[in-house]
Assembly symmetry: C2
Homo-oligomer: 284 residues x 2
C-alpha cells in the first residue's frame, strides 16, 4: 500500500504502529527518525524499523507516508524541518492527542508540499519509548481523523485505510470538537490523576509512609500519572482552552462536594455518587 | 480458634472474610446477619455462611466472634441492637474504612458487654453483595488495627491472629491518624473519581456520546466510581474533617494547575507532572 514510511518518534505509539504496519503488510520499508540514537538503535535491533536517521537533512527520498508521532509541542518545528525534502504526493499523518489549531497550522504548513491528514488513535498507556511498542495496540480502538476543507480526499481515504489496516475503528470529527471531547475524556483525567498523586506526596502525617497504604483503587486511579510529563505538558498547553474549561467544571463540582462533606449532608452525596454509578455503568 | 462467628453484612468484605475464615480453619460455624433475605439466601447457597438471621433478637448464643461488615453509618445502631444478647467474652471487630470517632463510640457502647477491636483491612474493589465474595481477598493486604486505651489486650491479640490467619499483614495505628491517612489514600480518590465521571456526564457536546471515546485511562481512573454509593456517602460523612481537608488541598492544587494551563505555562506543568511521576514510581 505504501512503499516507504517514515516514523518520527519511535515510541509507544509510533513504534507500535510500525510493528503492525509491517506485520499487516501495509508498508514495504520503515525508517525511524528521532533525536535519541539509543532509542532508535533499540527500535532497529527489535526490527520495529529497518533503519533510522537523526538529521532532518537525511530525510529519505521516495517516502510516501510520514507518521508524526512526537509530543504535540514539536509537531510544527519537526514538520518545518522535513518540509524541503517532502515529495508532493507524500501522505502525512500524526497521532497527536490535540487537533484544533495544530491541524490548521499543519494544513497551512504542508499545503503544496505534501498531503496532511490529522489523526488521533484513542490507544496507548502510561509507558513510553521503543521498548513499550507492542503489536495490536490499535486493534478495536477508535482512531479519530479530523479532516478540514483543505484535506485532500484521496489522502484522507488512504489514511483511513491505513488505520483500518492496523485494526482501528475510524471516526471522522471536526478538529475543534475533537479537542473538546478529548479534554473531558482524557486530558482532564490525566490532570486530575497527577494532582491526586501530588496531593498525597505533599501530605505529611507523622512517620507514616502513605504509599504503604495505597490499595488497588489508588493505584488504578493514579496509573496514568506515570505518563510521560512532556507529552501531557504539551497537550495541556496546546488544548488549554478546552482543558481549562473542563478543569473549571471539575473544580466547581469538587467544591460542591466539599460543601456537602463539610456539612455532613448525606443525601446529596448519595445522589451524586449514585449518578456516577449510573454513568459509569454505561461505559463499554 | 473461634467457635461461632456472626458476620453482620455478608457482602464483598464480610462474605470474603467468611470464606477464608472457614477455609483456613479459623472458625467452626458462621452465621450471617443482614436485612436483605435474598443476599443471605445466596450466601448460604454458596456455603459462605452456614445459616442466617434477619431479626436482631435471634442473635445466636455462644457467639465468640462478631464481625461488623456493614456501611459505617449503621455500625452503631446495629451494635446497639445486638448488645443485649452479646456475651462478655465475645470479640467484636469491624472492617470499616473510618475509625476515629466511630471507634470511640463503639468502645463506649461495647464496654462491659463484649471486647471491641477496631479493624480496617485495606482490601476490596468496586463490587458489592455476597456474589462478589472471593477467597484470598486479604492475602498480602494490610489490615490496620486501631487499639485505644480501652481495648482489651487479649482481644487485640486474638483479632490480630485472626487477620493474620486470612493472610493479612497486621498494622497498628491510632484511630484518628488512620482516618487522616485513609482520607488521602482512599477517600479523596473516590470523591475525585465520582466527580470526574459526573463532570463527563454533565458535558454535552453536539451529538457526541462521550462514553464512546473513553480509553483505558478514563476507565481505570473511574472504576472506583462504580463503588456502592451508600458506603462512600457514609465514609465521607463519618470522616468529614479529614476528607474535607484532603479535598481542600486537592482543589487548591487543581486551581494552581488551571492557572498554569490557562496561561499556557509549560515549565511549571512539566515540574508538577514529573513530580507525580516520581512519587508514583515509589508505589509498590
Amino acid at each position: 500500500m505504501f512503499r516507504r514510511m517514515v516514523v518520527a518518534g519511535v515510541g509507544l505509539l509510533g513504534g507500535s504502529l510500525a510493528l503492525d504496519a509491517r506485520r499487516r503488510g501495509l508498508v514495504e520499508e520503515i525508517i525511524g527518525y528521532g533525536r535519541a540514537g539509543k532509542n532508535l538503535r533499540l527500535a532497529k535491533s527489535k526490527r520495529i524499523i529497518d533503519d533510522y536517521f537523526t538529521d532532518e537533512s537525511e530525510f529519505p527520498e521516495g517516502t510516501d507516508l510520514l507518521i508524526l508521532a512526537t509530543p504535540v509541542g514539536v509537531l510544527a518545528p519537526i514538520s518545518r524541518a522535513f518540509l524541503p525534502r517532502l515529495e508532493p504526493q507524500c501522505v502525512v499523518t500524526d497521532v497527536g492527542s490535540v487537533k484544533g489549531k495544530i491541524v490548521h497550522e499543519l494544513d497551512n504548513l504542508f499545503g503544496g508540499h505534501a498531503l496532511f491528514v490529522g489523526a488521533h488513535p484513542i490507544a496507548g498507556n502510561e509507558k513510553w519509548g521503543a521498548h513499550a511498542a507492542v503489536s495490536d495496540l490499535f486493534e478495536g480502538r477508535r482512531c479519530i481523523l479530523t479532516p478540514t476543507r483543505k484535506t485532500d480526499r484521496k489522502a484522507l481515504e488512504k489514511t483511513a485505510c491505513f488505520w483500518r489496516g492496523v485494526g482501528a475503528k475510524v471516526d471522522f470529527m471536526d478538529p475543534d470538537l475533537h479537542d473538546k471531547v478529548l479534554a473531558v475524556v482524557s486530558h482532564l483525567p490525566h490532570v486530575a490523576a497527577y494532582a491526586l498523586v501530588n496531593t498525597l506526596g505533599a501530605t505529611k502525617l507523622d512517620s507514616v509512609n502513605l504509599l504503604d497504604y495505597c490499595a488497588g483503587g489508588f493505584k488504578d486511579i493514579t496509573r496514568i500519572a506515570s505518563s510521560r510529563p512532556e507529552i501531557w505538558r504539551d497537550i495541556c498547553v496546546a488544548n488549554r482552552d478546552a482543558v481549562g474549561k473542563a478543569l473549571g467544571n471539575y473544580i466547581r463540582r469538587l467544591e460542591r462536594l466539599k460543601k456537602w462533606i463539610d456539612a455532613g449532608e448525606a443525601a446529596p452525596l448519595d445522589r451524586e455518587f449514585a449518578r456516577a454509578n449510573e454513568i459509569r455503568s454505561g461505559m463499554a
